[in-house]
Subunit: 360 residues, 2 copies
Amino acid sequence: MKTIISSLGINRRTLLSALAVLPAMSGPLLTASAQAQTAAPGDALASWNDGPAKQAIIDFVKATTEQGSPNFVAPEERIATFDQDGTLWVEHPVYSFVMYALEGVPALVKAKPALAKVAPFSTVLEILKGDRAAIAKLTMPDLEKVLAATYTDRSVDQFNAEVTKWLAEARDARWKKPYTELTYLPMQEVLKYLRANGFKTYIVTGGGQDFVRTYSEKVYGIPPEQVMGTAGVVKYSYAKDGKPFLFKEPKLLLNDDFTGKPEGIHLMIGRRPIMAAGNSTGDRQMLEYARAGAGANLSMLVLHDDAKREYAYGPAQGLPATKVGTFTQALYDEAKKNGWTVISMKNDWKRIFAFDESAS
Amino acid sequence: MKTIISSLGINRRTLLSALAVLPAMSGPLLTASAQAQTAAPGDALASWNDGPAKQAIIDFVKATTEQGSPNFVAPEERIATFDQDGTLWVEHPVYSFVMYALEGVPALVKAKPALAKVAPFSTVLEILKGDRAAIAKLTMPDLEKVLAATYTDRSVDQFNAEVTKWLAEARDARWKKPYTELTYLPMQEVLKYLRANGFKTYIVTGGGQDFVRTYSEKVYGIPPEQVMGTAGVVKYSYAKDGKPFLFKEPKLLLNDDFTGKPEGIHLMIGRRPIMAAGNSTGDRQMLEYARAGAGANLSMLVLHDDAKREYAYGPAQGLPATKVGTFTQALYDEAKKNGWTVISMKNDWKRIFAFDESAS
């Protein structure tokens, strides 16, 4: 039996080793097509620079939604799936769903003071005090324990209340903003543009399903039933007053990463998406699955190549995978070979955040 | 590891012992409220007789959707979940999803002729030839084997094609109609009435999720992503040409019955339904869960008490549970105690099927 955290897919990525962000390699990774002419969808994609990525999105939406188009897709088949971390919002240097777990430790210690002297909780307390050396002490099994202690062994209602409280109070280290403000404005525009054209937009995340559902509607306009993620077992239980409630057990049900993404899409949606977006090897199978559909389809990869406005990381940047992420050279090569659209944050995005007034 | 059929919940119900339908006990089970005055929702519920059940539905919809109502529910929270077998369509004397498995055996035998002499496939062939005595030979483990052989070990695409073909050709024994015509017109009206009032309607079935999804949109207006059911593991795989596909493995993932219904609702929807309908003990927890919500809510139980136009079965009819179903006296008592609305097919439904011109 795996614990909830194996489920979160984080044993396959490096989470904590990248608190010091590496500098970006320079130079555009996309050869801009000089011929590309961007048809204007009003201001729907106002934060995008003209270029092949913006053009691919517009062309795809027109091809699938305009009456009489040979690639017309019936509205009910217009399913679009988005990875979250690194695709819709910042994932660097630590996933927000992991920060939630780390910053939840003081409350655990307050409830059970003895934990303050017990690893890994003692280690997390050191990290939170600013002891960066302590990060190296935190092993993956340690992190699993911390995630299990903060995500499970409580009711769904209690968990939701705790996450909601944390999101209201927590601030990221770089921008000093709530995490929910660190969403990418150009991707928010894509979500809205798709919905305005009859698409149903979904989040398909390796992060915790219950975690993301607490804010998905408010932050992305995506209702909880259109969020799938890594999920644990819940148990139908009864309170002392006889009222039923759902209890989060420390057992993995779905690992929504890698092959788990298309498998989870089948379970939760039952249709193949015609559009998918991701940013890492954990999204590879979902992008491949969408691209293998019989009709028009679009798969997109967000490339983090903007160290100035966000971050630059991954082997496609010439940076080691073990240090900074999982956008590998192989993934980049596959994207080019199979006609996935690579989105360069540096070149394709005029603005990155709603609060960011600078334009590239 | 359970096989797919344990998952289907059928080891908890009697499936095959009721091919000879028992006669119904007479007498109304609901005390009609003489004071009940049915507000007319146009012709939305035209197949319902005036009475407490119809009134409860109308009152609930008005209370939750009329602006200014103290029990107003925001549109995105208007989730309604329906059991399928026995609630939306006929389940007697054999669940359609089980008939599908039984009638799939000749094709299995055609592909592998040796199976004709191997139990349980040989037994099923006898049953299909009309040998009712053979039914007694079919044990639950036998049935599990037949279900596994017809529901799994093939691609999702192949399974969908096989089900679609069967549904087009198969006819039920009593009405000589396609199974998809055996849906209850009054419940179809409720689905439409709810959707017209901003509700999102879901099927939550103990039957196979992939099975129901092949026809849910056409038959009920419910898209596949709003169907949850008992589900097996699917495996992301590659064909010889390198194309990815999903393969149905003979392993249980979700048993969508009893506590599995509210647990599955949390997994797939992430919100508590404010309305739920069922007809058996397998729906008990779902009905209880909906009823335990903080705001206005409605739980409904369909009582099969119309031997003439459909069937009459279950201990609430004074008939033994082992023979005819799982609407137990305890369930009936719980419905009355906890304010669930009991729908009497005999008294509340003017017409049962769209093809049925008689009125009660």
